[in-house]
């Protein structure tokens, strides 16, 4: 299948997509965990605002999310300027920006999955851990976290898959710069915008599917193994 051979530029896009999706998934995980815990367990003023905020990227068209990100996290944006000045963390037109966009787009999916798992945790087990001397942090680490692992894995899978497919917010936020912000999806989009690009789009789509499926199967089998350990026959 000669036509499946990837050009250098395409290889770059593949590598970039993997990097972006992985970083997006991993870096949003702690925030998603926090948000999920707050939503599942917390009782505070503004909880429903937080809930709405988390869902926002899902509710808004990706282009709007991209624009909002551009305005907030761009070089001239309030948060972007702050982060760049104080932490040297620049998002605009960097792959980090693509990762940010994907993380934001996948955030509601991750939070929902984790939250669902947290709500299913038998809190009596956490009580039992506390009577054995574990402080709340330890209870979380040694009891809650292992028990919500299925939700975390599901959330990570969704976030990764979403990151592989995301381009609306990404391309709006950090453009479509080969080697820097052009992910597979953005490349596929480019192909669909010109005459004769269908074959290219199809080829890249297949590559994207193959990669995602591999990641999916891997994660599923890891999750299944973890589940077997937890609730054996």
């Amino acid at each position: 299948m000669d036509w499946m051979a990837l050009s250098d530029a395409e290889w770059t896009a593949v590598r970039l997509s993997l990097r972006v999706a992985t970083v997006a998934m991993l870096s949003s995980l702690p925030f998603a965990l926090l948000a999920a815990m707050a939503l599942a367990r917390g009782r505070f003023w503004g909880k429903s605002v937080l809930n709405g905020l988390v869902h926002m990227p899902l509710i808004l068209p990706p282009v709007v999310t991209g624009f909002v990100l551009l305005i907030l996290f761009g070089r001239r944006g309030p948060i972007g300027a702050f982060l760049a000045d104080n932490f040297g963390l620049v998002f605009s037109f960097r792959w980090t920006g693509a990762a940010l966009a994907c993380a934001v787009m996948g955030f509601p999916l991750m939070v929902r999955s984790i939250r669902l798992s947290i709500e299913a945790v038998d809190r009596k087990l956490e009580d039992a851990a506390a009577t054995l001397g574990a402080n709340p942090a330890w209870v979380f680490l040694t009891v809650t976290l292992p028990l919500i692992l299925p939700g975390i894995v599901a959330g990570m899978i969704l976030s990764f898959a979403k990151a592989m497919g995301e381009f609306g917010a990404t391309i709006t936020f950090v453009s479509n710069i080969p080697g820097e912000t052009q992910t597979l999806s953005a490349a596929i989009y480019s192909f669909t915008q010109v005459p004769g690009g269908d074959a290219g789009a199809m080829r890249l789509a297949i590559i994207s599917i193959v990669i995602s499926m591999a990641a999916l199967m891997l994660s599923e089998s890891l999750a299944a193994a973890a589940a077997r350990r937890t609730v054996a026959a």
Partner: protein
């Protein structure tokens, strides 16, 4: 990062529909000058807003005048480098490859041709090709009869696909796109005066510090590039 030295690649922000032509031109430019380029293809709207937010673009090629004007107003392009690079035509395409040609003139009964089908075109209030199409139909007095039948696609490409898949019997698309699709037949070209001129303007951004930008701009306007644009069906202006 922001390109400060001339060693940096020239970065072109161009409307997505220019990808094929610009890819070829950039390859040529590399052959001749030995210099690399970076091209980011996206919707003109996104690109313009990104430039507004400090994107590292040296050259901007828009698919319509509106977004170039938007940047010009904000003094984000060097006014003296702006020019109208390309032109295009809009055509009426049919899903039937053996369809009879029609003359597009005032009074054309497009509604009859459509029957209970839809007229596929770019979204008339957002996609440039859609705007041109609507203007032309209005000018020709056809618009009121077909307004209800228009299916506004997300891009010209999508409109073309609707026709080539047989979802819509007719569509209005760029000549450049129509030419490359064997699934459709161009049955008529809209008179040039029936709509505002279709223009792809080009300019160097105010923020550009790249010494090669001017040279690249020259190259894009050169006859060599013109040939490549024409291969893709564009009309080279000037």
């Amino acid at each position: 990062g922001a390109p400060a030295q001339g060693e940096e690649k020239v970065t072109i922000f161009a409307a997505a529909s220019l990808k094929n032509a610009l890819d070829a031109i950039n390859a040529n430019w590399k052959e001749e000058s030995g210099k690399e380029t970076t091209a980011s293809y996206a919707a003109s709207s996104a690109l313009a807003k990104q430039i507004e937010q400090g994107a590292p673009a040296d050259i901007f090629i828009s698919a319509d005048l509106a977004w170039m004007d938007y940047l010009a107003e904000k003094k984000l392009i060097k006014a003296d480098t702006r020019s109208n690079l390309l032109g295009n035509r809009i055509v009426l395409v049919s899903a039937k490859t053996d369809a009879d040609p029609v003359e597009i003139k005032p009074g054309l009964d497009l509604a009859i041709l459509l029957g209970d089908g839809r007229l596929a075109m770019g979204a008339v209030d957002s996609v440039p090709a859609g705007k041109y199409g609507k203007a032309a139909l209005e000018k020709l007095g056809i618009w009121p009869t077909v307004a209800e039948k228009v299916a506004g696609a997300e891009s010209v490409r999508a409109a073309l696909l609707l026709v080539s898949r047989g979802e819509a019997p007719y569509g209005i698309v760029y000549k450049t796109d129509a030419a490359a699709d064997p699934g459709v037949k161009v049955v008529g070209t809209f008179p040039e005066d029936s709509h505002p001129p279709i223009i792809y303007p080009i300019a160097i951004t105010t923020d550009s510090k790249n010494a090669d930008a001017d040279a690249y701009l020259e190259f894009v306007k050169s006859p060599k590039a013109a040939a490549l644009f024409e291969t893709q069906g564009f009309i080279v202006l000037e």
